[in-house]
Symmetry: D2
Subunit: 323 residues, 4 copies
C-alpha cells in the first residue's frame, strides 16, 4: 500500500472514511478515485453493497460509493433494494464511469496461448462478442469480482482476466488488449451514499431520487404517479420497478427525476406524491454527472421558480382581495 | 312603491344599493328577495345585465344580482361575457330559484277565451308543451321580459302572459294556472356580483369561479387545463366555452370548481392554471346554493388541507435534512 | 320577387327546397347564396331555427341553412339544442361568412339627422363602439332580425338600421356607412342540415361534429372523454357544454373534431366515445370551410390511415402466429 | 437416471424436448414438473438461461422453462433481456412456484455442528434472517445454483446447503429444517418459452407480455404509453424498465397486461402501442397462473368484446348513413 499515500488506515475519524464496493482494483475503486476529496479520505473496500452501506449506517464510514446502474446490465438491485428499505440513507453525488475492459495477463503471455479466461459475471455479456471473435476456444469461468479474477491470474489459476486496465499494476499483470467493450458507450453509474442530511447544493443541473410505493394494486396507480410529475413539468430520467417482497405483483418504483428538491416544481411534485402514495422515500438531490447547466432539458413554460413565485403571489392577492 | 317599504330611493348610500336585472316582477327580483339583506337594501331594477354590472363598476351600487345559468337554456352569455371582460368584478353569492310559470290574466278571463299569449322568449321553450296541450290555438308573441308581458296583459294588448306567480299582484292580474313547466326541476342560477375584494368566507360547501384562456390553439391545451384540476382532486361542476372575439376557433373557458380558494387543493390548482394559461381571471369563491357541507362530494384521498400541510412539513424536513 | 328568378315556389319538389333562417335580407340568406347549388334550389325563409329544421324533419325541405356559431356571440343555442335532441339530423356542409354591417337609411338621410337606430339584438354588441363614436345620441331599439329592422326603416319607424349591405336593395334603402364591425374578423358559421344519410365525402380537410353525454356527474368524466380524442391524435376545434334540461349541473357536450369519420383515427375515437358515453349523437363529417388540405394541422406521428392499417396487419399476424 | 422414467434422451424428437435452467434439483426443475405434459417430455437441464433459450431458437428443444420474476429479488434480467433481443421467442405458459428452502445436510449432521453453509446468491436474502437467528456463526459461501450447493455438501465441502426440499434425494442428503423463508409468500414465476406461433388459447384469465421501446427520450413518452392501455381499460400487472444498451438513460419496458391479444380492448391497445412506439415485441398471451376467471379484475364499463362489437357496428352504420 506504500504506493497509495492517500490512505491512512486507522488514523482518520470514521466520518472521513469512505467505504466502497471492493475489492481494490475494481471499477468502483476507479470511480471513487475520481472524487476530488478521495485524496484526503481513507478508502475502505467492502465485500458487498450491503456491507458498504451498513458501514455508513453504523457510523463506521462517512460515505459509501456503490454502483447503482449499468448501461448494459441495468439497475444494481442490491443497491436499489438497500436504499429502499432499512435505515434510511441518502445520495449526495453520482459518478459516471465509462466501462471498457482490458485483458490482463501475466507478463509474457500471448493471445494465442490463452486457454482460460475469467472475470465478474457482469463483465461477460460486455465482452462476449470480443471473446467469440478473438478467443473462440478459450474457456470462461466466473470470478467473484473483476479484481478477484486478476488476482487468480496472478496466482496462475487462469491465463487471462477481464478487468479495468487500472487493475494491472495492483496485481503485477500486463494489459494485453485494452478498450474491449461489446456495446458502445457502456458506462456504469455509481452513487455516493451517506446518512440522511441536508441535500447537496443546487447547481442547476440536478437530479432527485425517490422510492415510491403504490397505494394498492388499483389499475392506473402508476399513471397517476407519473401525472404528479408531468403536470409540474418534471421529467423522469429513470424509473425502475422493484418487488416489495410481499408477493408477485406488488412493486415499488425507484425513480430519478430532473431537478432539485429546492426547485419549486420538484418540491410541489414531491408533495403531490407524498399525498397519493402510502409511502415515499426521498433519497436526495444531487448534481447530474457529466452534465453542465447549459445541457439541461429546457424547462416547460410556466415551471421556473419565478413562475411559481409569481403564481403564489397572485394567489395570495386573490385570497386577500387585492387581485 | 308605497307597498315596498324596503326601498328608500336616494336616501341610502350607493354601497347599500343592489342592482338587478329588471323590471320588477321578474324572476331576478324574486331571487334577490331571497337574500336576507335585501330587506335593508335599496333594490334597483336595471334594463340589462351590462347595465346592472356597470352600476357596480361605477360605484352606483354595492352589488348586482344577475342570472348566470338556466337549466333549460344554458349559460346566460351576457353575464358570462361581462364577467370575463372589462373592469374585473367578483361573485360573492349564488341563488338557485326553481322556475315555474303562472298564466296571468285579467280577472274574469277564462282559459277558453284566451287567443293571444306573451312572455319572454326564454320562457317559451319551457311552456311550449303545456301550450300545445292546453291552448293549441293561442298565438304567441314575445315580450321584452316576463314582467313586461304581464304589463301588456294589464294594458289589454294580450289575453294572457307567462310570468312568475309573484308578478300577478304588481300588475293587478290573476294567476289562472300555476306551476307550469315543461321540464322537471327547471331552475335558474343567479349570482350576486360586487367589486373585487376578499372572497366570501369558507363554509365547507363552496364553489370557485374562474375564466381561463388557452395559450394557443395547440391541441391538448384543454386537456392540460383539466389535468391541473384533476391531479389535485378538484372536481368541476361547470365548464363553458365562450368566444374570445378574436375569430371562430378562439375560446376562453368559464369554469366552476368545487371548493374554496382557501382550500389548499384549490389554491394549488389555481396556481397551476395561472402558470400554464396566458390569462386567468379569478371570479370568486362562495357558498354553493342549496348544498350543506354534508352533501359535498367526498374528497379524494390525500387532498384535505391536513394532507397538504403534512406534505408541506415533510418537504421542509427533506430540504432541511430532517426527514 | 321578380328579381330573384332562382325561386320557383311550388314548382320544385320538397327535396330541392332549402329552408333557411329568414327573413330575406339576413346574413343567413347571404350565406345560403354562397352555396353553388342555391342557384337551382327554392330558398324558403323560415321564422326560426326550429321551424327551419322542422321543415327538413317533416320532408318539406331537403336541407336547411342555420347559423351555429358567431365569433362574437358564441354558439347559437337554438341550433345546438335542436341538433342535440328530437328526430336526428345531420350536417353536410358549413359556410363561414365575415360579418360586417352597413348602416341602411332611406335615400337622402344624413348621419347628423339620425335620431333612432335599430337592428337584431345580436348586432348591437358588434356595433356598440361604432355607435358610441359616431352616433352617441342616437337611441337604439331592437328588431326581430336585421332584415326586419331594415323593413321598419323603409316604413319610416326608425331612421337607420344595421344590416348586411346586401339587404339595402330589398328594402329600397341606401347604405350610408359600410363595413362597420367593432371586432376584427367577426364571422358567423352556418351549417347546412339534412336528414341522416351517408356523410359528405372526405376531402382531407374535414371536421366531425358530435354530441356527447357524460355518464354520470363523476368527476373526471370530461377528462376521460377528451382522452379518447387525444390518445388517437384527434384535435378538437370546438367544445361547448349545453344543459341536458335535467337540472343545473347536468350537461352534454357539443364537439367539433378535426378529421372525417372515415379517417381511422377519428373512427376509433368515435368508437371509444360510444363505449364510454351513455349516449353519442353523430352529426356528420363535412369539409371545413375556408381551409384547403394544405392548411390542416399536421397529423401526430402514428395516426395516418396507413399507420392504422399497418398496426392492424401486425395485430392480425400476432394473433395468427405470423408476427 | 433410472428413477426418472419420463426422460428418454436421444429417443424423442427435439420438438418433444423441454430445456430448463438446470442443474437437476433446482426450483426450475420443480416448476417444470408441475406441467402436465412434462411426464411425456424429455427434460433437459441447461447451464444458463441463454443456453436454455438458444436450445429453442436452434431447434434443439420445443420449449424452455426459465425463471422470469422472483417476488423477493425481482425480474430475472437474463430472461428479460434474452426475450427482448435476438431471434424472437414467445411465452406460452407461466408457472408460479412458492419458494421455501430446506437446510440440507449429510445424514447425521446436527444444527449445532454446522460451521459452513452454501446456496445460490439469490437464496441468501431469503434466508438471511433465519440464518442470523439459528446459525449466527455459520459462514456463508455462494454456490453456482442451489442444486450445486447440495452437491458440494454431498462432497463434504460445506456442512449444509439451502435448496428445495425436493433436491435432498438427488444428492443423498437429509432436510434438517424445512420451510425456511424470510419473506411470507415468496414465490418465483417461470415461463415456458417457444418459437413464435399462434398464442395460447384464450381462457378468460389471461395475460399478455410485451416489450416496448420509447421513441426518444422526450419527457412524457412513458405516460403516453401507459395511456394507450388506460384508455382501453387494460390493466398492467407488471412493468419493468431495462437498458437498451445504448447508454445510461435509454430504456425499453417489459410489460405484462391483463387480458388476451384476442380481447378487443387488448388488441386495440397493442395497435395503439405499435403506432406510437418505434418498436414493439409481442411476447405472447397465455393463462395467468393461479387465477381462474372468477378472480379476474372486473372489466371497466364499455370494454368487453360485446361493447367493442357494438361500437364497431354503430360506426359502420354512421359511415353508411344508417345510424
Amino acid at each position: 500500500m506504500a504506493g497509495r499515500p492517500r490512505r491512512y488506515c486507522g488514523r482518520m475519524s470514521p466520518a472521513s472514511r469512505y467505504a466502497y464496493l471492493g475489492p481494490e482494483g475494481t471499477f468502483t475503486e476507479a470511480a471513487i478515485r475520481t472524487l476530488p476529496e478521495s485524496a484526503t479520505r481513507e478508502l475502505v473496500p467492502m465485500v458487498s453493497v450491503p456491507a458498504a452501506l451498513d458501514a455508513v449506517r453504523n457510523g463506521d464510514a462517512g460515505g459509501a460509493l456503490v454502483p447503482i446502474e449499468n448501461s448494459v446490465e441495468g439497475g444494481v438491485t442490491a443497491t436499489l433494494d438497500e436504499l429502499a428499505t432499512g435505515t434510511p440513507l441518502m445520495i449526495y453525488r453520482e459518478v459516471l464511469l465509462p466501462i471498457s475492459f482490458a485483458l490482463l495477463v501475466r507478463p509474457g503471455t500471448t493471445l494465442e496461448s490463452i486457454k482460460t479466461v475469467t472475470g465478474h459475471p457482469v463483465a461477460q455479456p460486455q465482452v462476449r462478442r470480443w471473446l467469440a471473435e478473438h478467443l473462440p476456444h478459450a474457456q470462461w469461468e466466473s470470478a467473484a469480482s473483476n479484481a478477484d479474477g486478476a488476482r487468480l491470474v496472478q496466482e496462475g489459476r487462469y491465463d487471462a482476466a477481464f478487468a479495468g486496465e487500472f487493475a494491472a499494476a495492483t496485481y503485477g499483470l500486463t494489459p494485453l488488449v485494452t478498450d474491449i467493450h461489446d456495446a458502445e458507450n457502456a458506462e456504469t453509474r455509481f452513487v455516493l451514499v451517506g446518512r440522511p442530511g441536508r441535500p447537496a447544493a443546487r447547481t442547476g443541473a440536478d437530479k432527485t431520487s425517490l422510492v415510491l410505493w403504490l397505494g394498492d394494486d388499483r389499475p392506473g396507480a402508476l399513471l397517476e404517479l407519473l401525472q404528479e410529475f408531468a403536470v409540474r413539468g418534471v421529467n423522469l430520467v429513470r424509473i425502475e420497478s422493484r418487488p416489495t417482497g410481499e408477493g408477485i405483483g406488488r412493486y415499488c418504483f425507484s425513480v430519478d427525476a430532473e431537478g432539485h428538491i429546492a426547485d419549486r416544481r420538484v418540491g410541489e411534485a414531491l408533495m403531490g406524491l407524498r399525498r397519493i402514495c402510502p409511502k415515499v422515500r426521498f433519497l436526495g438531490s444531487y448534481p447530474r454527472a457529466g452534465l453542465d447547466p447549459s445541457q439541461v432539458t429546457p424547462l416547460r413554460q410556466g415551471t421556473t421558480d419565478e413562475d411559481f413565485a409569481e403564481a403564489s403571489d397572485w394567489l395570495a392577492r386573490c385570497i386577500d382581495g387585492r387581485a
